[in-house]
């Protein structure tokens, strides 16, 4: 199915696809992010039990959800790359990894910050926090494996295998940690049975999740573009694009370079 597509045309095409999608993702992402954050932090009603401290939920929950989604998308990209030998899929995989790691990190930090007023401690070996921590390590594993190779095609395949091994393990890890947690549960944990959220709290949360997804998507598109350019720097289509950009620059501004030199 994929063989008839010439590999170089493929990266060029995906580059152009990124180019067309990028403005939409960035504009909508930023817009919804601002709306959701302001709505959540300033206008949503305060929780009757946790008062204003709960508001961190508008950052914590989107990041926690996104982190798992990003890991899954990374593994899906790796799977596509391994099965259909698509080079661009590996680039997508490695473009996703640092975003995922960052988002996971944010969810850990916000979790800890939330834990301080709620549980009275920065770190509680809570099931979700723990499996989130392991997820962060899985991201690090894929990234460091990729970085260890000189040949990036080989790097893509190796890191791809690791991403898939990780995604198979993710539910097992999650389940085992949850089970471990109930086994060892200490008395300090404040059991929060969440009553169903009132809509005025839920809407900004849903919007926040969407906005996080859009912003991550925009960053991903940008990173994928960079990765494509970096890998294919010597390909004719990149060179053509570069010279085009240079022509535009020298044509529009009346050769600013000599001025800079002075």
């Amino acid at each position: 199915m994929w063989k008839w597509l010439h590999p170089y045309a493929k990266t060029e095409k995906s580059y152009q696809l990124c180019q067309t999608l990028l403005p939409w993702f960035s504009v909508f992402g930023l817009f919804t992010l601002i709306v959701a954050t302001v709505w959540g932090l300033a206008f949503a009603p305060a929780d009757y039990q946790q008062s204003d401290a709960f508001r961190i939920i508008y950052i914590h929950v989107p990041s926690a959800i996104l982190s798992k989604m990003l890991y899954s998308s990374m593994a899906i990209a790796a799977f596509i790359g391994l099965v259909w030998q698509v080079k661009t899929a590996f680039m997508a995989m490695i473009a996703l990894a640092p975003i995922g790691a960052m988002v996971t990190f944010v969810s850990l930090i916000t979790g800890a910050v939330w834990g301080k007023p709620m549980w009275g401690t920065w770190w509680e070996w809570d099931a979700r926090l723990t499996s989130q921590l392991i997820l962060l390590f899985l991201f690090f594993g894929v990234m460091s494996l990729y970085k260890s190779f000189d040949d990036q095609q080989q790097a893509g395949k190796a890191a791809g295998v690791m991403a898939i091994v990780g995604v198979i393990n993710l539910p097992i890890i999650h389940y085992s940690v949850e089970w471990w947690n109930t086994l060892h549960q200490g008395a300090t944990i404040l059991k929060m049975d969440k009553p169903s959220m009132p809509p005025e709290m839920l809407w900004p949360l849903l919007l926040a999740i969407v906005s996080w997804a859009l912003v991550s998507g925009a960053i991903f598109l940008l990173r994928l573009q960079n990765e494509i350019i970096r890998r294919e720097i010597k390909r004719p289509w990149v060179l053509a694009m570069v010279s085009q950009v240079q022509d535009v620059n020298t044509g529009d501004n009346n050769s600013p370079k000599p001025e800079q030199a002075q």
Binding site: L138, G141, S148, Q153, V161
Partner: protein, 221 residues
């Protein structure tokens, strides 16, 4: 069958030639375990409480040390190329290598385990649970480890990276294994934990050789 049998015999012969190298992870295993009484104090109750976890963590760490041997020499001297071009099914080759590795590097660790149980004041019920989890769990270490070793074999600097890749994946095993021993300490049944470890082992047995075979091919690129 003959090619695989030949491989099995060759790897055992090689392990015999390298017995000094094989003993090192074992000593390391003992050393790590004996550090804990020194670190937390010799109180038998404390040691008994942390014992299962300590033994399992030490087993994971020391298995990481010996794991590189699995494909390193074969990769470096070119035997792996010849193995890839021998016409044998590569997943089976990987499985044979994992088996010999387990027999030569991990089995001695199991044999040492009564001594360590003694060090950490595990009672008899706990020891049998520990042994059962080790018998079921350590092949899982070798099977999953083989994937990561095959992925990093071309890098010549796999050591720490190997640990970084594998330790998160070993966490469920650690949790179920130690909880089985904890259950035994309270004379509760621990069949469920053993069953889960067994299921994970079967799952890995079915899939890991294929992943290892693929990783070995990638290592040649």
């Amino acid at each position: 069958m003959t090619p695989l049998w030949a491989l099995f015999k060759r790897d055992l012969t090689l392990a015999f030639h390298q017995r000094a190298e094989l003993i090192q992870p074992l000593i390391f295993f003992m050393l790590v375990v004996s550090l804990f009484p020194l670190g937390v104090g010799p109180n038998p109750a404390t040691l008994q409480m942390i014992g299962p976890g300590v033994i399992w963590v030490a087993a994971i760490l020391s298995s990481l040390m010996g794991l590189e041997r699995l494909f390193r020499d074969d990769f470096q001297d070119g035997s792996l190329e010849q193995l890839l071009l021998s016409g044998s099914a590569l997943p089976l080759v990987a499985l044979v290598k994992v088996t010999t590795h387990w027999l030569t590097s991990i089995l001695p660790l199991l044999i040492l385990s009564p001594l360590l149980a003694l060090f950490l004041h595990l009672n008899e019920a706990m020891y049998w649970a520990l042994l059962a989890t080790l018998i079921l769990g350590t092949p899982l270490l070798s099977l999953l480890g083989a994937i990561a070793v095959a992925l990093t074999v071309g890098l010549n600097r796999g050591g720490v990276l190997l640990a970084l890749l594998l330790v998160p994946i070993f966490i469920p095993l650690l949790i179920f294994a130690t909880s089985a021993v904890d259950a035994a300490a309270l004379s509760l049944p621990y069949n469920a934990q053993l069953a889960i470890i067994g299921a994970m082992l079967l799952f890995a047995l079915a899939l890991a050789p294929f992943a290892t075979a693929y990783a070995l091919r990638v290592s040649q690129n």
